[in-house]
């Protein structure tokens, strides 16, 4: 494209944009518009959450106690850390530090994977305690002497756990997509593709990553911290 134009084009500028700035602004705006669709996507779930919590307050409080606050809280910290490293990676790209990008992206990926590993153990515990909705829904606890003690949960708790699995499951799916995205960005950063003039991919992947963090910021208190009467 550059050959027939009077002013020099950056090699990454696509033919239909007037300038790199227009291109960056368009991609940031595009990502935000996309994130709005994500907000609405999760919004449907939150709507279901609100309606059923209004219908079954007791079930919500008691089912919430079956979730592991340590794991949920720990994961919140992990995600906040990953948001910091992500923001630092974008900054590294903006100032042109290849090393900074690589280190921070690797940290982000590791933190994201940590989140998923914790999630795995959390889900595993739910299966063991019969808290998975469906024909086998049968809440119980494993006592120290090896016997099973059934837990009595009020009507509506099966819906709570359905929502718990769907909300956290879809969130985890977004994490997986995010990690895959970060691997691609890492490979590109490794090749030194980004610098002060061109860092759109890092920036918009970063927006996505932070969004996934924000979803968790809401999921954590709404799912894990209900009822107000627990103690650590």
């Amino acid at each position: 494209m550059a050959s027939h134009d009077a002013h020099a084009h950056h090699p990454k500028q696509q033919h239909h944009f007037y300038s790199m700035e227009q291109q960056l602004e368009a991609s940031i705006l595009g990502m935000w518009v996309f994130l709005v669709t994500e907000v609405m996507f999760f919004g449907g779930l939150f709507m279901a959450y609100i309606v059923y919590r209004h219908m079954y307050p007791l079930a919500w409080a008691e089912s919430s106690h079956e979730l592991n606050v340590y794991m949920g809280g720990g994961n919140t910290v992990v995600l906040i850390c990953s948001s910091l490293t992500m923001a630092l990676a974008v900054r590294a790209a903006q100032i042109g530090s290849r090393k900074g990008q690589i280190v921070n992206l690797i940290l982000t990926i590791l933190l994201g994977s940590t989140f998923l590993v914790v999630k795995y153990f959390e889900y595993k515990a739910k299966f063991e305690h019969g808290l998975v909705p469906g024909p086998h829904f049968d809440p119980h606890e494993l006592l120290a002497n090896g016997t099973l003690a059934p837990i009595h949960l009020p009507q509506g708790s099966e819906i709570f756990f359905s929502l718990y699995f769907i909300m956290t499951g879809i969130h985890a799916l977004h994490m997986v997509v995010g990690i895959a995205l970060m691997l691609i960005i890492l490979a590109m950063a490794w090749k030194g593709k980004f610098g002060p003039d061109y860092y759109n991919p890092v920036e918009i992947s970063g927006l996505y990553w932070h969004f996934v963090d924000i979803v968790w910021i809401f999921l954590f208190p709404l799912l894990y911290l209900l009822g107000a009467h627990f103690s650590l």
């Binding site: 239909h16 919004g43 779930l45 309606v51 909705p133 099966e158």
Partner: protein, 542 residues
């Protein structure tokens, strides 16, 4: 001489740039993607039409005699799913919108050409999934997928169908988001917001609905699929779930989706009325604002589908009154179109026929919405053939008439060829007459009480059903006629001049068909849209 020049020009067009299938399937040119969409939605339109024919055939007689009840249920379900998700939603935005939004605002392409192509591929994947569902026997839930029927009672491939709709929905989100960014960031110098052609305004409003509504139906249908496959019950009444919640979430998208279908149609009509009357659109600001008003109000009215669903009566009243408000911007548009023709220079070429047909049908479609919005009246009409007639007047009488009008208007620009004027006028008349005979009797059937989705019905309803089926055959012939002469035009049509209608607008300043990057020189806009000057003979036809 003129002829050979046009042909020489055509060599530089987007159609011919590099030949070959691969250059089409990997294209990032919005015009080629629009043509790919046009081909694919035509296939689905025919498929959906086939099911419609099956439905009308069965309803000729009161007894269920041609198909089995099960097959009939699958036919209307697949008719709905295909027509709504695979034809109407992408119809105008993905074809005419894709083709003309960038040209009308004077840019080379949409902001994200690769995502545009991705959107077409997602549509195709969703479509192929729908075809697989069809091959496996179809679904019998209706296009509305109401739980608990869709989650527990139906033993058809509901989950796979949901996957198909989900993927197609993603394609629609990508189209919408591409348009929004394009309109905001890619306008040519001088193309201010209030110089935008009204078609672009309408597409912009439509895109808002697409990105704000589609994700909600995506998650809702995902929840139904999760209920079917993973037993994660959200709407299951057996564990205390509320099926009405599904309806709330479903209509949060699906009511605005009606505006995804009709708003672009309104945009097309605004263009056509101005161009065919060679006159500035009457009340430009009001027409543009009413598009946005419809898009926004459209999100506040979904509960009018739930008046008799055991929704709270007070919620019903809120939804009812807001629904009544939607009538106002729709009325404003209609009156403005009529006023535009006043003292115009109204052409009697074929696009005008479609426009006038649209106005008649859209009026009836829009006004009959008032019956359904008045809560008490809705008790009698809810889920009857009145509803069927009403939304077909909007979606077929409104959206498809407008789509046809737009297609006739812009066909010379898109393909570089003219079609047979006489046949085009005949087709417009056939479709108009056939349509009214098909759907007007259904209003009466509705007030008589015939419920929708009935395979067999009491004898006294037969006379109106026969009339409806007879009209449907005329309607079908009308559409086939359009298909025939358009196909003929594609291969044998006369080469089209750059501006066959003598219309204003950036799309008419470039050649027919346009070059790959739309304009030989980046346009700079200096005048408002529809700037027809009455004094001199500034309009140059051809």
């Amino acid at each position: 001489m003129v002829m050979s020049e046009t042909i020489k020009e055509a060599r530089h067009s987007y159609l011919d740039a590099p030949y070959g299938l691969k250059s089409w399937l990997l294209t990032r040119d919005h015009k080629r993607i629009a043509m790919l969409y046009l081909i694919s939605i035509t296939i689905f339109f025919m498929l959906g039409g086939l099911f419609a024919a099956g439905i009308r055939l069965e309803l000729l007689t009161p007894k269920g005699d041609i198909w089995s009840a099960d097959l009939y249920n699958k036919m209307f379900s697949m008719h709905g799913v295909i027509m709504v998700f695979f034809f109407l939603v992408p119809s105008i935005p993905a074809t005419l919108g894709n083709f003309f939004v960038p040209i009308m605002i004077g840019t080379k392409d949409l902001a994200f050409p690769r995502i545009n192509l991705l959107s077409w591929y997602l549509y195709v994947i969703g479509g192929v999934i729908a075809l697989i569902v069809l091959a496996m026997g179809g679904i019998d839930t209706g296009w509305t997928f109401y739980t608990p029927y869709s989650s527990f009672a139906s033993n058809t491939n509901v989950t796979l169908a949901i996957v198909g709709v989900f993927v197609a929905g993603f394609s629609s989100i990508l189209t919408g988001f591409n348009f929004i960014v394009t309109v905001h960031r890619m306008r040519a110098p001088g193309m201010t917001w209030f110089r935008l052609p009204l078609f672009v305004w309408a597409q912009y409003a439509t895109s808002l609905v697409m990105i704000l509504g589609t994700p909600v139906v995506a998650i809702t249908l995902t929840l139904v699929a999760a209920e079917r496959t993973l037993h994660l019950g959200i709407f299951d009444p057996k564990i205390g779930g509320d099926p009405v919640l599904f309806q709330h979430l479903f209509w949060f998208y699906s009511h605005p989706a009606v505006y995804i279908m009709i708003l672009p149609g309104m945009g097309v009509i605004s263009e056509l009325v101005a161009a065919m009357s060679r006159k500035q659109i009457f009340g430009y600001g009001f027409v543009a604002a009413s598009s946005l008003a419809i898009a926004i109000l459209g999100f506040l009215v979904w509960g009018h589908h739930l008046f008799v669903s055991s929704q709270s009566i007070y919620a019903g009243m809120v939804f009812s009154i807001i629904t009544m408000l939607v009538a106002v911007p729709s009325a404003v548009k209609t009156f403005n179109w009529a006023a535009t023709m006043y003292k115009g220079a109204v052409s009697w070429e074929s696009p005008t026929f479609w426009v006038v047909g649209f106005m008649g049908l859209f009026l009836i479609g829009g006004l009959t919405g008032l019956y359904l919005a008045a809560m008490g009246m809705d008790i009698a009409l809810h889920d009857t053939y009145f509803v069927v007639a009403h939304f077909h007047y909007i979606m077929v009488g409104g959206a498809i008439m407008a789509f046809m009008g737009g297609l006739h208007f812009w066909w010379p620009k898109m393909t570089g060829r003219m079609y047979n004027e006489g046949l085009a006028k005949a087709a417009a008349v056939l479709v108009f007459v056939g349509f009214n005979f098909t759907f007007f009797p259904q209003f009466i059937l509705g007030y008589l009480g015939m419920p929708r989705r009935y395979y067999a019905y009491p004898d006294e309803f037969q006379v109106w059903n026969v009339l409806s089926s007879a009209g449907a055959s005329v309607l079908g012939i009308g559409y086939m006629l359009v298909f025939t002469y358009m196909m003929y035009s594609l291969f044998r049509g006369e080469p089209a001049p750059a501006n066959p209608w003598g219309a204003k607008g950036l799309e008419w300043t470039t050649s027919s068909p346009p070059p790959t990057f739309n304009f030989d020189e980046d346009p700079i806009v200096t005048e408002p849209a529809y700037d027809y000057k009455p004094a001199g003979s500034e309009v140059i036809v051809g």
